[in-house]
């Protein structure tokens, strides 16, 4: 079990209904964490989502460590 913090932005923030949550999880990768949250929230289909851990882009297979700060990144649209 690891304790992590998650921040939601944009379409995911509005869907989940809050910007941040603290979570204790049995997930061992960020991909597993996403699957767990997707099951709970039924995230909207938004295309290819990326993930960042501690303010850096990571692969979905990246291990989840106690204290990690995780952000799921739906398709961006700057400019």
């Amino acid at each position: 079990m690891v304790a992590v913090q998650i921040e939601y932005f944009a379409v995911l923030r509005e869907h989940v209904g809050r910007a941040r949550e603290d979570l204790t999880t049995t997930a061992t990768t960020v991909g597993q964490l996403y699957a767990e949250l997707d099951q709970r929230y039924a995230f909207p289909e938004v295309g290819r989502v990326k993930v960042a851990v501690n303010d850096e882009f990571r692969d979905w297979t990246a291990p989840l460590k106690d204290g990690d700060f995780v952000v799921f990144i739906p398709p961006v649209a700057g400019g």
């Binding site: 944009a10 700057g78 400019g79």
Partner: protein, 151 residues
């Protein structure tokens, strides 16, 4: 100093243009993204930009650093607005100086293209009809490829 930043307040290009001034520079190329009153056939009345700032500054700065590696430029900077914007407001500014205009144009184009596709910024359009949508995130059923949402 980082070469990429966010601004929660309206800004004018002049302030940042001064940052890229350089006596070796013979050419200054800039690009500004403005909020336009239409998108894909719909009337737009205002926009909201939301950014993941900590990662956005890192990724935006990487983009500008790549431009320095690829093109012989003197200085470069990019600033992106966050918050609620009206029609005509400045959403993003890129400025590049170089001894010659080839490099200034190429680097300016590189930066805006990469910033738009890589920096974690999201745009919500508010339409004349009263509805709104997150750009690039509103997947209609027909558009959604199976398994497109990871993992």
């Amino acid at each position: 100093m980082s070469h990429f930043g966010f601004s929660r307040e309206p800004f004018t290009p002049e302030r940042f243009r001064a940052l890229v001034a350089d006596p070796v520079a013979g050419g200054y190329a800039s690009f500004e993204g403005w909020v336009r009153n239409h998108n894909e056939g719909r009337g737009v009345i205002r926009l909201e930009y939301e950014g993941y700032e900590a990662l956005g500054i890192k990724e935006g700065s990487r983009v500008v650093a790549e431009a320095f590696e690829r093109f012989p430029i003197a200085r470069a900077h990019c600033v992106h607005r966050l918050g609620v914007l009206d029609i005509g407001d400045l959403a993003v500014w890129v400025g590049v100086t170089a001894a010659h205009r080839d490099a200034a144009f190429a680097a300016c184009r590189y930066i805006i293209d990469e910033v738009k596709s890589r920096v974690p910024i999201w745009k919500k359009e508010h339409y004349a009809e009263g509805d709104s949508g997150w750009i690039n995130c509103e997947v209609r059923p027909a558009d959604a490829p199976a398994g497109s949402v990871p993992p």
